[in-house]
């Protein structure tokens, strides 16, 4: 985190330090820059998609300090000091798909997949908080993300597949 308190004139730059997908980032950013634009333009992490840019569609959802948030409804400067995971940080360290991604692959979760980054991050945060969600809980948690292709059934089934895959993994570990 940079010094606080501070005042930055319109058009001015502010220093920010944060952790993005495990890497430390220290840079300066215009105060009016949204977090989503910061990720996409300044950090070239274009996996975070922008649909509506006013908080309705959920495509830009990222994980910030363990919680799902709309990156279009935050200023980059508000994320100063935060730890962020974007879709680029979801795969395993060796580049293989995470269980969640694998589940969406197996269950054909997406069609055009524009909404995928938002859904995957939202599902990741849900499963971290609640590893055995009911179908209703999945539907509720994903209700803030819009998909224009699938009709949602395949997405919800994918999360259920992920729950099963995770249980399988845990069972292997236990045996």
């Amino acid at each position: 985190m940079t010094k606080i308190p501070l005042t930055v004139e319109a058009g001015g730059l502010v220093d920010v330090r944060l952790t993005v997908n495990g890497a430390a980032v220290a840079t300066s950013v215009e105060v009016r820059r949204s977090l989503s634009d910061f990720l996409r333009v300044d950090l070239s992490l274009t996996g975070t998609h922008l649909g509506c840019e006013h908080g309705v569609c959920g495509a830009c959802t990222i994980e910030l300090d363990g919680q799902a948030v709309r990156s279009c409804l935050m200023l980059a400067v508000q994320a100063d000091g935060a730890t962020i995971t974007t879709i680029e940080g979801l795969a395993n360290a060796d580049g293989s798909l995470s269980l969640l991604q694998q589940a969406f692959h197996e269950s054909h979760g997406f069609q055009c997949a524009f909404c995928a980054p938002g859904f995957l991050i939202t599902a990741k945060v849900l499963l971290a908080r609640n590893p055995h969600p009911s179908r209703e809980e999945i539907r509720e948690e994903l209700s803030g993300n819009l998909c224009r292709c699938t009709g949602y059934h395949s997405i919800i089934e994918s999360v259920e597949t992920a729950v099963r895959l995770m249980q399988g993994t845990n069972a292997e570990v236990a045996s």
């Binding site: 319109a10 105060v31 919680q67 400067v77």
Partner: protein, 291 residues
């Protein structure tokens, strides 16, 4: 986003000094209402005062027979709070209805009150719960009853130099039941109409206190005093509840827009009133029996 001068105070004193100094400054807390307005250029403040780093504003405390929720308490924190669930049941009931979890992870309870959206849940909940709101400026601190707080569409009596510091929600009497019921076109959307109810029963099972208020029904959150009065001294049977619901449908003068007609909203307000009073009264009746 439009351009603005950005301020990041760390104390309430710094924040209110900045508000006093810069006319037309806006306070940024969770940003879930302000940032969309700015993205759409409906709001273009010259100065933005980000209170996100101000210390001491993120607490939920139980004292003086109620729950005090600080300016930086996020909806999700209130939603997950055992204290809120036990001591401020109306607030707890409203939380899952506000936006979506990702919105609630950032948006704040006090920000929702200060934004004063008549279609949102929190202003109406504050009205029914007889919440008291604490505002601070360089001129001092004052407490405002929720009944006096909302004075127009997206408008409150907060002065431009005042910061909403906290909201206090008195805990309902023991034999009370509460409910928040709404209908929205899609999950998490603003409700077409919604109602918040608090009903208290006497030992004989009659209603001895009732609060009924509506969101999405007027330019401010609005109580329907005649419907409240119709319940008093009576056992809340289906007929008595239907009578109150009919008064509500008659008295409200909700807006007509693309989402629903005025007539439909009036009808819906009656239906939701019936469901909400029934739920609140049955919760209160269970407490009377337990006693």
């Amino acid at each position: 986003m439009p351009t603005f001068t950005y301020h990041r105070p760390t104390t309430v004193a710094e924040a209110v000094a900045l508000l006093a100094e810069h006319e037309g400054a806006k306070v940024l807390a969770g940003g879930q209402s302000l940032l969309p307005l700015m993205a759409l250029r409906l709001s273009q403040p010259e100065h933005l005062i980000d209170i996100g780093r101000v210390v001491g504003l993120a607490d939920i405390t139980v004292a003086d027979g109620g729950v005090t929720i600080g300016a930086l308490v996020r909806h999700a924190t209130a939603e997950d709070s055992a204290i809120v669930a036990e001591h401020a049941p109306l607030v707890a009931a409203a939380m899952p209805l506000i936006g979506h979890r990702a919105i609630r992870n950032r948006g704040t309870v006090c920000g929702s009150l200060a934004h004063a959206d008549p279609a949102a849940e929190m202003p109406t909940v504050a009205l029914v719960a007889n919440a008291r709101l604490t505002a601070q400026s360089v001129r001092g601190t004052r407490t405002i009853d929720a009944a006096d707080f909302f004075d127009g569409y997206l408008s409150s009596v907060l002065e431009p130099d005042e910061l909403l510091l906290a909201a206090y929600f008195p805990t309902p009497e023991t034999r009370s039941g509460t409910a928040v019921v709404e209908l929205s076109r899609r999950y998490g959307d603003y409700a077409l109409v919604g109602v918040a109810v608090e009903a208290q029963l006497a030992d004989d099972g009659t209603v001895c206190a009732a609060g009924l208020a509506y969101f999405g029904a007027a330019s401010t959150p609005i109580r329907v005093a005649d419907a409240e009065a119709s319940l008093l001294g009576r056992v809340p049977t289906a007929d008595v509840i239907a009578e109150a619901a009919a008064i509500v449908a008659d008295r409200l003068d909700p807006p007509d827009d693309n989402h629903a007609s005025r007539a439909y909203r009036k009808h819906l307000a009656g239906v939701l009133t019936r469901r909400a009073i029934t739920e609140a009264a049955s919760k209160a009746a269970m407490k009377v029996q337990v006693r």
